[in-house]
C-alpha cells in the first residue's frame, strides 16, 4: 500500500491546514507518512500543493504523481489534474470531466465559516481512503484544545460532512502497520531541535525562505531551552554577531538561504581566521539571485565549500533524513567547537518542509562538549599545537582573550612577521584539516555493497535514491547506494573503498552541473560517470531517478 494525496489550491485557501489535519490523523492512525510542499512566492492566490504520502512501509520521499488530488480551485484541477494519472480527483464545487465535485467551501460556509473547508476536505479524504474518522476527530480536538468549544465542534461537524459527501467514492484501506510513530517532524524542526538540545544559546538571522522555518521553530522553543533569538538587520550582521557571540562563549547558530549566505561569505572567512565555532544553516533554493524562493535545489554546494577568501578549514554537512537533520546538527555544533572553525549545514526547501513520522527525537537538553579552556595568566589564544587546535578560552574568565582578523602571533596580536607568525599560524589552521578529515563521515551504504552498479547521492537526494535503489533492486540486486551526509572534507579513504570498481556509476543531485560528481572527480574518487540531475525546482523522486537510470541516454555525463 502506497498512496499519495495531493491537496492543491491557492495560497491562503487552507491547503496547508488541510494537509496538516490529514498528516495528524494519518500518523495517529498508525501509517507511515511523508509529505512535500510545493508553494509559490506569494501570500495569496497562485497554486500551492501539499503532498501526503502514506504507506505501511517507511517512506523517504514524495512520489512524482498523486493518486488522489483534492483540488480546491478549478486552476488546481486543470494544471495538476493531468498529472494525476489513474487517480481520483475531488474538486471543490465545480463540475468537471474526471473529477468528483464536492462542495468543500459551500459546506463549510453552511456550517459556519468558509475557512473550515479544510476540515471538510480532510473528512472527505479519509472517507475516500475508507479510514475510520476517529483519528481525525481526535486530532481536531487536540489541535483546537485551546480554542472555544464551538470551534472544535464546528470543525468536527465539517469533517463529518466531508466524510458524507465523499461516501460515493469510498474505498477501503488496508490496516495500519505496526511500528509507525505519531511524532511528525519537518526537516526544519529536526534541525532546530538538534541545535536547541545541543546547547545553542544564541540564534540570529535575517528571515529567508526556506531557512525561516528553522528560525521559527527556535523562536518557539526559545523560552524552553533558554535561547536568545534576535532578528538581525541583515545577513552580514547575523554572521558577525555570531562571530562575536561565539567569541564570548555562547554556542550560536545563524540560518539563511543562498542569497543571504552569499552575503555571509566574508564573515565565514572571519570565523576561519579567528577560529570561532560558528554554525551556519544554508537551506538551499534555486538561484541565481532571487531565483525561485519557495522551490528546492541542491545548487549551492560549490559556493558553500569554497565560501570565504583565503584558505582555512571548514566542514559542510548535508543530512539526508529527518533523523540525520537532528543528529548531524548536534554533531555539527560539537565539531565546530572541537575544531574551532565554521561549519555549514546544507539542506534545501524539500527537506526543510518535508514532514515524516518517526521515533520521537529526544527533546532533552544534552549540551555537546564545547572544549573550553580556562586559560590562565600566560594564555595565548593561538598557541601552536600539533593538531592545529589551540586552547580556547572566552573573555570574562581568568585569561584575556585577544583575537584579530589580521594575521597574528600566538597571542592574537596583529603581526606582519611572515616567517615567524604568518606561516606557522597558517599551517596551524590548515593542520586542523587532518583531524577533520579523519573524523569525517564515511558514506553510508545501502543495498549489496559490491553490486556492479553504483548510485551516489548526498544530502536530501538520499530519500528518493533509497527508494529508487529498492525499486531497481527488486528483481536483481545490481545496485549499491552510497550516501554522503558530509560533503566537505570527504573521508577519501572510506569513500574510495566504498566506491571500488563498478561497471556503472551515476551521481544523483538537484542541480544542473553535477557539482558533487565534480568534487568526487577532483579527488580522484570517480572517473567520468553519469549524472541524474534535477533542477526544475521540484524535489527528486524515486520515479524520476528510476526513469533516468533505466532509459539509456536519459542521464547526462557528469
Amino acid at each position: 500500500m502506497d498512496i499519495s494525496i495531493r491537496v492543491a489550491g491557492e495560497a491562503g485557501q487552507g491547503v496547508q491546514s488541510a494537509g496538516n489535519l490529514l498528516v495528524g490523523a494519518l500518523a495517529s492512525a498508525g501509517f507511515h507518512v511523508f509529505t512535500a510542499k510545493s508553494y509559490m512566492s506569494r501570500i495569496r492566490g497562485g497554486l500551492n500543493w501539499f503532498d501526503i504520502r502514506i504507506s505501511n512501509r517507511e517512506l523517504f520521499a514524495p512520489k512524482e504523481k498523486a493518486d488522489l488530488l483534492v483540488a480546491l480551485t478549478r486552476e488546481a484541477f486543470e494544471i495538476l489534474g493531468r498529472e494525476t494519472s489513474d487517480g481520483l480527483i475531488l474538486l471543490d464545487s465545480h463540475e468537471a470531466q474526471g473529477a468528483y465535485a464536492i462542495p468543500f467551501t459551500q459546506t463549510a460556509k453552511e456550517i459556519g465559516n468558509a475557512i473550515m473547508a479544510n476540515s471538510v476536505a480532510a473528512g472527505a479524504v479519509l472517507a475516500v481512503l475508507g479510514l475510520d474518522n476517529k483519528h481525525l476527530m481526535e486530532y481536531l480536538r487536540k489541535q483546537f484544545h485551546d480554542k472555544p468549544a464551538e470551534v472544535v465542534e464546528q470543525n468536527i461537524a465539517a469533517a463529518g460532512a466531508g466524510e458524507k459527501l465523499a461516501q460515493s467514492c469510498a474505498g477501503r484501506l488496508p490496516a495500519a502497520p505496526e511500528g509507525a510513530w505519531d511524532s511528525v517532524y519537518a526537516g526544519a524542526d529536526a534541525i532546530g531541535l538538534g541545535a536547541a538540545t545541543a546547547g545553542v544559546k544564541f540564534v540570529t538571522a535575517y528571515p529567508m525562505t526556506p531557512s525561516t522555518a528553522t528560525l521559527n521553530f527556535l523562536a518557539e522553543s526559545a523560552d524552553r531551552y533558554g535561547i536568545l533569538v534576535e532578528q538581525a538587520e541583515d545577513e552580514i550582521a547575523a554572521i558577525n554577531m555570531v562571530c562575536g557571540s561565539t567569541y564570548a562563549g555562547a554556542p550560536s547558530l545563524t540560518v539563511t538561504s543562498g542569497g543571504g549566505f552569499a552575503l555571509m561569505v566574508e564573515g565565514i572567512s572571519l570565523a576561519g581566521m579567528l577560529e570561532l565555532p560558528v554554525v551556519i544553516l544554508l537551506a538551499q533554493r534555486p538561484g541565481p539571485a532571487t531565483g525561485l524562493p519557495t522551490r528546492t535545489a541542491q545548487g549551492d554546494l560549490n559556493m558553500a565549500i569554497h565560501a570565504g577568501h583565503g584558505e582555512f578549514p571548514k566542514m559542510v554537512f548535508a543530512p539526508g533524513t529527518h533523523q540525520e537533520c537532528y543528529a548531524i546538527t548536534r554533531h555539527a555544533v560539537m565539531m565546530a567547537h572541537k575544531y574551532q572553525t565554521p561549519v555549514i549545514i546544507l539542506t534545501d526547501q524539500f527537506l526543510q518542509d518535508a514532514e515524516k513520522n518517526i521515533r520521537p527525537l529526544s527533546e532533552e537538553l544534552k549540551p555537546v562538549d564545547c572544549f573550553l579552556s580556562a586559560g590562565g595568566r600566560e594564555y595565548a589564544r593561538y598557541a601552536l599545537s600539533p593538531d592545529g587546535i589551540s586552547p580556547r578560552a572566552v573573555p570574562g574568565g581568568e585569561a584575556l582573550v585577544v583575537v584579530d582578523s589580521d594575521e597574528h602571533d600566538q597571542c592574537g596580536h596583529i603581526s606582519e612577521d611572515l616567517a615567524h607568525d604568518h606561516l606557522p599560524q597558517h599551517d596551524k589552521r590548515m593542520r586542523k584539516m587532518i583531524g577533520l578529515t579523519a573524523e569525517s563521515f564515511a558514506p553510508s551504504i545501502l543495498g549489496p555493497p559490491g553490486a556492479p552498479n553504483l548510485m551516489i547521492c548526498w544530502g536530501s537526494s538520499y530519500g528518493p535514491c533509497r527508494e529508487a535503489v529498492e525499486m531497481l533492486n527488486a528483481d536483481d540486486n545490481i545496485w549499491t547506494l552510497l550516501h554522503f551526509s558530509q560533503v566537505w572534507p570527504l573521508n577519501e579513504d572510506a569513500a574510495r573503498q566504498a566506491i571500488g570498481e563498478r561497471s556503472r556509476v551515476i551521481v544523483v543531485e538537484g542541480n544542473s552541473t553535477a557539482q558533487f560528481a565534480s568534487l568526487l572527480r577532483q579527488l580522484g574518487l570517480v572517473g567520468p560517470c553519469e549524472a541524474c540531475l534535477r533542477y526544475d525546482g521540484l524535489p527528486l523522486t524515486a520515479d524520476y531517478v528510476v526513469d533516468k537510470v533505466s532509459k539509456p541516454g536519459n542521464s547526462g555525463a557528469a
Binding site: L228, G244, Y247, A248, I414
Partner: protein, 270 residues
C-alpha cells in the same frame, strides 16, 4: 614565553591624533577602574581600529572585519551582558561600511560604547574621502572634491534616542577622558565621536583647525532636550560643540530581555 612578536607598539604616524585617543582611553579605563577581565575592546579595520592592540594595560580584544565592529560587539554583549564592551574604530569603518549596523544598534539601544576616531578620511588605505569628509575635500580619488554632504553621526544618534551622545577632541586630553568615563557609565548605547586629526592625509581638518573651532558645551544645555541637542548636532563650522549633546532614559536592549535575568548565555570557565 615569547609568544608575542606582534605590533603592540603603535604603528601610527608621529603626531597622529590617535595617540591622544590612546592616552585618554588608558587614563579613562584606569580612572574608571575598569575590570580588565570583563573589558572587551572591539574594532574593525583601519588605523583607528588598531588601538586595542596598544593598550597600556591589556584587555580582551576582538579586532574583526572592516565595518563590522558593531554587530560583533552586539553579539558579544548578548552572549555575556556582564562584559564591558567598548568599540573603538574609524569613521570609515563605523559610518561607511558599517552604517547599517550602527543605525540598527542605535534602534536597539544595545549597551555598547562606541568611540569613533573621526579623522574625516580613510587613513589606512591612504587618503580617500570618508563619510564625514567635508564637501569639497580633495583627494586622489575625489579629484573634483567630495560632492556628498557629510554624514552627521550626532544627529543620527539623537533621532534614534540612544542613551548617550557626545563629541570630543583628541587634542583635549581632559575633556576626552571625561567623555569616555561618562560614556562608560551609560546603560545603553553610547556614541562618542572623537575629532581626530590625521596629519598625513587630511591637511584641512588639522589640530589647529579643530582647536580653533571646538567649544565645550556649557552647563546650561539640557542633554535630555532633543531639539536643543539637534541644534548642537547641526553646528559644524566656525564653532563645533564638544561635550554631551544628548542623553535619554530609554532602557538598554539587554535590560529588556527576560532571559538574561538568569545570567549570561555564555558559560565562562573561571
Amino acid at each position: 614565553m615569547d609568544l608575542a612578536r606582534a605590533d603592540t607598539k603603535p604603528a601610527w604616524c608621529p603626531g597622529c591624533g590617535n595617540y591622544g585617543i590612546l592616552k585618554a582611553i588608558n587614563a579613562a579605563m584606569a580612572e574608571a577602574g575598569a575590570d580588565r577581565k570583563r573589558l572587551v575592546l572591539v574594532s574593525g579595520i583601519g588605523q583607528a581600529a588598531k588601538l586595542p592592540h596598544y593598550l597600556a594595560e591589556p584587555a580582551n580584544v576582538f579586532n574583526g572585519l572592516h565595518g563590522r565592529a558593531v554587530p560583533a560587539a552586539t553579539g558579544i554583549k548578548l552572549a555575556n551582558h556582564e562584559l564591558n564592551v567598548v568599540v573603538t574604530s574609524g569613521d570609515g569603518d563605523m559610518y561607511g561600511e558599517g552604517g547599517n549596523h550602527l543605525l540598527h544598534a542605535m534602534r536597539r539601544n544595545i549597551g555598547i560604547r562606541c568611540f569613533v576616531h573621526n579623522n574625516q578620511v580613510y587613513g589606512l588605505t591612504k587618503g580617500q574621502a570618508s563619510p564625514t569628509s567635508d564637501s569639497g575635500f580633495m583627494t586622489l580619488l575625489q579629484s573634483h572634491g567630495v560632492m556628498a554632504q557629510p554624514f552627521n553621526p550626532m544627529a543620527l544618534a539623537i533621532i534614534n534616542n540612544v542613551t548617550f551622545v557626545a563629541r570630543s577632541f583628541s587634542g583635549d586630553f581632559e575633556h576626552l577622558k571625561s567623555m569616555m568615563i561618562e560614556a562608560m557609565k551609560a546603560d545603553g548605547f553610547a556614541l562618542l565621536d572623537i575629532l581626530q586629526p590625521c596629519v598625513t592625509f587630511n591637511k584641512v581638518n588639522t589640530f589647529a583647525w579643530y582647536r580653533q573651532r571646538v567649544k565645550p558645551i556649557g552647563p546650561q544645555h539640557d542633554p535630555y532636550d532633543r531639539r536643543k541637542a539637534l541644534d548642537l548636532a547641526f553646528m559644524w563650522g566656525d564653532e563645533i560643540p564638544i561635550g554631551v549633546y544628548y542623553r535619554s532614559k530609554r532602557p538598554s536592549f539587554e535590560s529588556q530581555l527576560a532571559l538574561l535575568k538568569h545570567g549570561p548565555l555564555a558559560a565562562v570557565a573561571r
